[in-house]
């Protein structure tokens, strides 16, 4: 089987996000970028399936600027076989359009499964996997916490749902989105980092794909969360109740 794994380059989770002064978005210049953590889990799952002999080839796909090659390279160092970058020109791309681009690559590569993070930690959309499965008209299993491929090539996926776990059986081709507890991504070892340098990354220009990437959502403004006001220490219960009643107006 063949797996297509999608990875997004996002601001590293350790960095405090700063809003651009014109409020059009967040500052990314000279900010440390990393692979979206949920996508790391997606890569890890594909590599595990390859180690089990279920998957023969892993293609790591990213959509973004030239620098997204570094993110693909990390996926290759973790165990991906080759990469594809759909190069954008800095424009924002809605989840629907991301889905269309992935479909384009899907049609070209005919993978048996697409594995991707359930959401990216930058825009928290949580839409791409679901939209993609509609576009492909194939099975989907979202928020996966366990993936088992059966002998007949159907896949049992355990999902984290409200109140517990649900296991569903899907058939290929399919879309799987990964949740936090699916696995613990490995560290790329030095030998594998060196090997990844030799692996191929195909670069496609988004303009050559003939896909309408017009945005359907307009960002009006991005702003920082309001600064937390300092608390006060009250002397007794009575003054607490008084403040809750008269100042906070919550009781």
């Amino acid at each position: 089987m063949k797996a297509l794994v999608c990875v997004k380059r996002v601001i590293d989770y350790n960095v405090k996000i700063r809003v651009k002064t014109d409020k059009s978005g967040v500052e990314t210049e000279n900010v440390k970028m990393s692979m979206n953590p949920f996508d790391e889990i997606a890569v890890e799952e594909a590599v595990k399936l390859k180690e089990k002999g279920v998957i023969d080839e892993i293609i790591v796909l990213s959509i973004g600027a030239e620098t997204s090659q570094e993110t693909i390279r990390t996926g290759l160092a973790m165990g991906g076989d080759r990469g594809v970058l759909v190069k954008t020109n800095g424009q924002e791309i809605d989840p629907l359009n991301v889905g269309k681009i992935i479909k384009y690559i899907f049609d070209k590569e005919s993978p048996d499964m697409v594995i991707l993070g359930k959401q990216a930690i930058d825009d928290d959309c949580n839409q791409t996997g679901q939209i993609l499965s509609s576009l492909l008209d194939c099975h989907q299993a979202t928020f996966a916490s366990k993936v088992e491929v059966n002998d007949d090539k159907t896949i049992n996926v355990t999902r984290e749902v409200d109140g517990g776990l649900e296991t569903i059986k899907i058939s290929i081709p399919c879309v799987i989105t990964t949740d936090l507890r699916l696995n613990e991504p490995r560290y790329a070892s030095l030998p594998n980092i060196m090997k990844a340098k030799q692996k191929k990354i195909d670069i496609l220009d988004i303009n050559d794909l003939n896909i309408d990437i017009k945005r359907r959502v307009e960002t009006i403004e991005v702003s920082e969360p309001p600064e937390r006001k300092p608390g006060v220490i009250v002397n007794d219960v009575d003054s607490l109740i008084d403040k809750l009643k008269n100042e906070a107006n919550v009781i």
Binding site: N14, V15, K16, R18, N30, V31, K32, S34, E70, R73, T74, A77, Y187, A188, S189, L190, P191, I193, M194, K197
Partner: protein, 561 residues
């Protein structure tokens, strides 16, 4: 006037000043080069007799000699900090954080060179000790340089630097290479997840770093970095080694030091071994299957290896080794000793020394030396735990002639010398990692700790310390990476490697001390990791050439040039 506006104006002014005046920084370095030449000729005259440097005179003027080594260390460190910034600027990667660090480092170090450099807390080298007249530093009084110093030392710059740190922005390491950055990223993750959460417990329980962690490090390739590809290694070079070492040491000094042992043994065998020895040992060292330990130091022979007394006597096809050794790091849990011993008792000094590759069964804490003729006891230490230190006795250890390194007698000291460059670079990287660890701990505590109604990071006595720590850590890192690059390009860099080690070790100690100070009483409590970092950082000024020996090596190198 609105004071906040005033501050941001000043930041912009400083940033613009740096970016439009890089020639000025260059000019300062040129002026310092002339000052340095003046000091060198002054010193040379003092320590030379009949046109040659005399060891006796150099000893007589040790303070001045070592002081000059420090002066030059500062100059080269500034040069490399400027190169770091210029490269970043060219790549459009420099920010206000980096320009702040650059101007702060130049202003501070320039002032120290002009008025006195702290070789240690209790020894200051003054320009007059080096025959440098006030006139020589008159370039500092030009309006441009005076402005640079004023801006560079301002609290505003320091505050700005620390505000960046607070928001999770650390200065660019200056690797400027996708592969190296990926290595750094992966080892940072490994360290944060596998080392940092456990380091303090390992330290407090005085445990060895667990076998499973060693296994993970082997799998990641830690021991194979510098070993050539045709011997089962990765042949990645010293810059990669520095990146890995710094990250691991940032978690726990011993984690970054495990690689040192493989590095020393690997370099000894790679450079001095026979083909058979290389084929036998290098792949095993690279895979982490065999752990090595360096057996050089003796109870009465530390820095002065020429006085070594352990004997190796030829007896048929074997050598019989007898002697006492000490400060044997990782002495028990190791499989191969590199033993320095005297093969020719008629030859005093370095010439009669030879290096042996001695296989031994791996020991553990309960039974450290399961080998006949080998015994020893643990030396309990303040810090640098995780591998354990031993004093050992070798009693008639029989070693085949084939295990004499290079199968040639009398080459031991030379073979060892050849590894010094790499070992010093690696040790400097360890020190940079420890300093970074101190910085991060101090920063986190300063952010979290609230006193007098605000986070203590807002007090200038706290943020000044943090700004100093990040500035000096950056400077030390850049001179270290410079040495590593030179080494990778096969350029002789023993002097720069010595400088890097000398400076980085002092920086690690002062960073650890400041980080602990920021913690107040809590820093003195064993449960806070900063107390461990203080103990760990103290060794850096001692091992791999104590600060005094390191300065001596540097000055001898400089005067020999």
């Amino acid at each position: 006037m609105d004071s906040s506006l005033n501050k941001s104006d000043q930041i912009v002014e400083t940033h613009n000043f740096v970016n439009t005046n890089l020639d000025l920084f260059e000019n300062i370095l040129n002026s310092l080069e002339s000052v340095s030449a003046e000091a060198k000729s002054f010193l040379k005259e003092k320590v030379s007799s009949e046109g040659k440097v005399s060891n006796q005179l150099l000893e007589k003027h040790q303070h001045e000699g070592h002081g000059y080594a420090w002066f030059e260390t500062y100059r080269i460190a500034l040069r490399e900090t400027l190169n770091w910034f210029k490269t970043l600027k060219k790549l459009d990667k420099s920010t206000k954080l980096e320009s702040g660090i650059l101007i702060f480092s130049f202003a501070e170090y320039l002032c120290q060179m002009r008025s006195g450099i702290m070789m240690s807390q209790t020894e200051i080298i003054r320009p007059e000790n080096l025959g440098i007249s006030n006139q020589s530093f008159s370039f500092c009084d030009s309006p441009d340089v005076a402005k640079l110093v004023k801006l560079g030392l301002s609290e505003t710059v320091k505050l700005e630097i620390v505000e960046s740190l607070e928001n999770g922005f650390f200065p660019n390491l200056g690797l400027n290479d996708e592969t190296l950055e990926m290595i750094q990223d992966q080892f940072k993750k490994f360290t944060d997840e596998e080392i940092v959460p456990n380091a303090n417990e390992w330290h407090l329980k005085d445990d060895l770093i667990p076998d499973e962690v060693l296994k993970k490090m082997s799998e990641l390739g830690v021991f194979s970095i510098a070993i050539p590809e045709n011997y089962g290694g990765l042949g990645m070079g010293k810059v990669a080694m520095c990146v890995v070492t710094e990250e691991l040491s940032r978690g726990f000094l011993a984690a970054g030091s495990l690689g040192t042992r493989a590095e020393i043994a690997g370099e000894l065998i790679r450079l001095g071994g026979t083909e058979e020895q290389k084929n036998k040992y290098l792949p095993e060292i690279a895979s982490g299957n065999i752990l090595t330990t360096a057996v050089f130091t003796e109870p009465n022979t530390g820095s002065d290896l020429g006085n070594l007394s352990t004997r190796a006597q030829l007896d048929g096809d074997s050598y019989i080794i007898n002697g006492n050794k000490t400060w044997i790091t990782h002495g028990a849990r190791s499989d191969l000793m590199t033993v320095l011993a005297r093969t020719d008792s008629n030859q005093k000094g370095y010439r009669g020394l030879s290096m042996f590759l001695v296989d031994k069964p791996r020991g553990n804490c309960e039974n450290p030396f399961p080998m006949e003729g080998m015994s020893g006891s643990e030396i309990e230490v303040l810090g640098y735990r995780g591998m354990k230190e031993y004093e050992i006795a070798l009693d008639s250890i029989k070693v085949s002639k084939k295990n004499l390194l290079g199968e040639e007698e009398g080459k031991g000291f030379k073979q060892l010398m050849e590894t010094f460059e790499s070992a010093r670079i690696q040790t400097a990287a360890r020190a940079v990692g420890v300093s970074q660890n101190a910085l991060e701990l101090g920063l986190q505590y300063a952010k979290d700790r609230s006193q007098f109604g605000k986070s203590i990071i807002k007090f200038s006595r706290i943020y000044n310390k943090l700004a100093w720590m990040v500035m000096e850590t950056t400077v030390a890192r850049q001179i270290t990476l410079f040495s590593a690059r030179e080494k990778d390009n096969d350029i002789r860099c023993d002097i720069e490697a010595g400088m890097a080690k000398l400076l980085a070790a002092r920086v690690a100690w002062s960073s650890a001390d400041s980080a602990l100070q920021i913690h107040g009483g809590n820093g003195y409590a064993l449960e806070y990791p900063v107390s461990r970092v203080l103990c760990d950082s103290r060794i850096l000024n001692i091992f791999e050439g104590a600060a005094e020996i390191q300065a001596q090596i540097v000055i001898k190198g400089l005067l020999g040039k």
